[in-house]
Symmetry: C2
Subunit: 370 residues, 2 copies
């Protein structure tokens, strides 16, 4: 029973037609006042409409509008694992950046699974998201096959350009190099093991290259590489294996904070102390790296800046460089063997000249693997 008042009696949410009827205008006028255009509306008419909106508690149906306009104002973001603090922080930064533009995020997790990533992409396409921000687990060829044609797509967390897409990522090679260089020059390590995630890539990861760059600069052979699944547990297992070897390295570079906290646990369980018995550094610089024990010396990724860049890239696909690389920041804490900071002071951040090559090729007082 809808009566003459124009108030719908049903529980169905009010539509623009209800508002028009209530305010005694046409639906076009309602649209004009809701969108503040494209036609002008007489002030008192507008007021009537606004009152009707208020009374009826009318909320425009964004999906219907999307159908008409071709823009959903939704962005899809797919990450390998929201449970990883690095991605959680990234997700948050993306959300902050996107609300500023009136976009909403549809988030999905690939769980590191290629097939799942493909399904998600397909589903997101059907939902007409206006753009995609993805940390893909696929290689370029595989990604091409499932990517959405016609929707701006930016790949994040890419340490290297990604053929055919606009991509963003940290300068992982240089960050890794700096970190390992610190271990070599300041703490006199001669062998630094690398704990990495498994990679389907045939070509070495930038972190791996940065790690070996550092050794090459001193004509030192790099340490061993151990591969693990990208999780705390993976880091734990990798380190446990490492520590069982006859000559264990005196330091570890973990490719992510998660891997590193896992490694730390293995180190403790082996009865070893960090950094005294074995030093550790990692890549990412999430909040957890600051609060764990010992606090981690890391190459910190500028997550907010990258998230903003990713957002402006999806929103202005035309005016975007194919690849943007962001410098990491080396944050010296205790896990490398540097002494703890004085309580109350901020972390010690070391700025390096980007292009500098090490001054001395001699590493004195070298620590031997033990």
């Amino acid at each position: 029973m809808s009566d003459a008042s124009g108030l719908p009696a049903k529980t169905r949410p009010p539509t623009r037609a209800d508002v028009a009827r209530y305010a005694g205008v046409s639906t076009a006028v309602v649209s004009y006042v809701v969108n503040d255009g494209p036609r002008r509306v007489a002030p008192q008419t507008a007021a009537r409409v606004r009152a009707a909106i208020e009374i009826l508690k009318y909320r425009p149906n964004v999906n219907a509008r999307a159908l008409k306009k071709g823009s959903t104002e939704m962005l899809g973001v797919v990450l390998p694992d929201i449970t990883n603090p690095f991605f959680a922080e990234y997700a948050h930064a993306l959300e902050v950046a996107s609300v500023a533009h009136g976009y909403v995020l549809v988030m999905a997790t690939s769980d590191g699974n290629e097939a799942q990533e493909g399904q998600i992409l397909n589903d997101l396409a059907k939902r007409q998201v206006d753009g995609l921000i993805i940390s893909t687990v696929l290689p370029p060829s595989g990604f091409h096959a499932v990517a959405l044609p016609g929707r701006p797509t930016v790949l994040i967390n890419c340490s290297t350009p990604f053929a055919g897409y606009v991509a963003i990522g940290p300068d992982a090679r240089e960050g890794a190099r700096l970190l390992v260089d610190h271990l070599i020059t300041v703490h006199r390590h001669q062998s630094v093991a690398l704990i990495m995630g498994e990679s389907s890539e045939p070509v070495p990861e930038p972190r791996e290259r940065g790690w070996s760059d550092a050794f090459q600069a001193y004509d030192l052979p790099p340490g061993p590489i151990v591969r693990a699944s990208f999780s705390r547990h993976g880091g734990y297992e990798a380190a446990a294996r490492l520590l069982n070897w006859k000559t264990r390295p005196s330091a570890i570079f973990a490719a992510s904070d998660q891997l590193c906290t896992g490694a730390l646990k293995a180190i403790r369980e082996a009865g070893l102390r960090c950094p005294d018995d074995i030093a550790v550094v990692s890549f990412d610089g999430t909040s957890e790296s600051e609060y764990c024990w010992p606090p981690l010396t890391v190459a910190r990724q500028p997550i907010e800046a990258m998230a903003e860049a990713a957002l402006s890239a999806v929103l202005n696909p035309s005016s975007t460089a194919a690849y943007q690389r962001f410098d990491t920041e080396i944050v010296i804490r205790e896990s490398c063997g540097c002494s703890g900071r004085h309580p109350g002071q901020g972390p010690q951040v070391v700025e390096f000249d980007r292009g500098s090559t090490p001054v001395s090729k001699t590493v004195a007082e070298a620590r031997a693997p033990q």
Copy 2:
């Protein structure tokens, strides 16, 4: 130039009409094969349609369908802070549960801000999400004011029923009680400080009540309460304050893992050892609690089970109890003072009889606050 082939030349994604034209059928038939109903289609016709879909790379526009059907197959989830591992794990569990039902999650973060939560809810309403899953930062009265009428809404992370809504949460009071009881009976602590988030509630939080329940059972006065912002830094500051007091407690119960890891940092910086100088237990049981140092003794929330319950509650609002409480699981690790588990074994999980009252009222060898 769209030619006789029916292949659209434009970059505009193909619509059902394109498929119909290409397959030489009506749009209805396309709809029938896409949805596998509600009318039957001749096998070879269906094959033709499927071929056309394949060729044209047609993907049904979910929003248009939603407009027609009134269901977007999107669920809104709003959490205070995706950066908190507890909520990140919750988000992941919710996603796993929802993909199983063909739903997609629109995630938003309130940042603990009431006004922001209201805006998010409003925006989600305009987007016609089919249901809401919220960990609200609002009190019941405030929530009522901004809640979406007409959309199934379930409140998660509620330790107590929430007037007018279906809610889900852990048995925080009992979990807290058990944890503190362990500290009192097994480790002989007489004073356990409580680090809590700020709360706008006039009535004490269940964790606080469980904490004081434990003391009451032995006619002991509870320890001090310190309030902090819900973050690692908050826990850090709270503990730092606590440790500065003339008589510091011998143990701390932190209301969340985040608070606890922050407290741990403060303890270390004060030159104290955990658990030797000060024991610590916390609530949540995220992965981080297992990997930090020392590993945390916690009341673990059954996140997966709660997430599934939340999902089935939004999806079947009618057949759902107003409030579902989930038992936590006490996981004994090292931060309480219990010895480390033997490497290779799982954590030590202690099962308590739910209703048991402590046997002895005498606490021998009590540790005095120091």
